[in-house]
Symmetry: C2
Subunit: 147 residues, 2 copies
């Protein structure tokens, strides 16, 4: 069951500049940052609020690390902006299977590793009203609180 908006993924060309925009404009601070070589992104997570399911909602700022990454191609086509949205669940495997059973294309056969050690998968935007949609299960209870 999807129990929260886990994050909004925002694609940018210059991560440092975008982090500074969000800090200077709204006061949002970087909670966590990492490079995900598999996804080809350098990212910063800005924690916005806690959520009623014991998790949290973040902005995820994404800068491509190589020109053949999906985010780089997306930026080339669309320019900077909202790249995807993500819902949090305690069971990404079960939810992905159930959603696949409803005829929505799930992009990975098995969930992969996302931000902060989470397990993630994506749903095809053409099956989701144009919205690239991610499902996320956090690494462990309390992992949201750890750097």
């Amino acid at each position: 069951m999807l129990t929260r908006i886990d994050h909004i993924g925002i694609a940018c060309r210059d991560l440092d500049k975008t982090v500074e925009f969000y800090r200077a404009t709204y006061g949002f601070e970087v909670f966590h940052s990492e490079v995900n070589e598999e996804q080809g992104v350098r990212e910063a997570m800005l924690k916005i609020n806690d959520t009623g399911d014991g998790g949290a909602s973040y902005l995820q700022l994404l800068e491509p690390t190589r020109p053949d990454s999906t985010v780089a191609k997306w930026l080339e086509k669309n320019g900077e902006g909202v790249h995807h949205i993500a819902f949090g669940t305690a069971d990404v495997d079960g939810d992905a299977e159930a959603i696949r059973g409803k005829g929505v294309r799930v992009l990975y056969d098995e969930p992969r590793i996302g931000s902060m050690g989470s397990r993630i998968t994506f749903l095809h935007p053409k099956d989701c009203g144009g919205v690239l949609t991610e499902l996320v299960t956090s690494a462990e209870p309390g992992a949201h609180e750890a750097h």
Copy 2:
């Protein structure tokens, strides 16, 4: 101070069909629906989770009611997808003024009426890394819980 992701605004061509997609696929239910003639939209709010500041996070599904509305024009250019993101604050007037003072264009001189009697304004996407960004103050404490 912005204390939550208030909602993600998603533009669609057929609200009823999109509501049914989110219900059938994820189990999300309509919390509130209304027509905003000023904005030229018919909308449904799907509540996803409570937030630590006493508010909640929603998906806001938006269908244009007339071809000259901003959402209709946006759909024509971009197709269906994420239209804007919104942050919740207790003081939309003060935050909008402070943000204007930092050189970010605020689209309304004064906040206008948004979903569920909230007061809202928008920031220019060109000043926000391609992200149309809304600021929202709920109508009153507890208004999130009312239909």
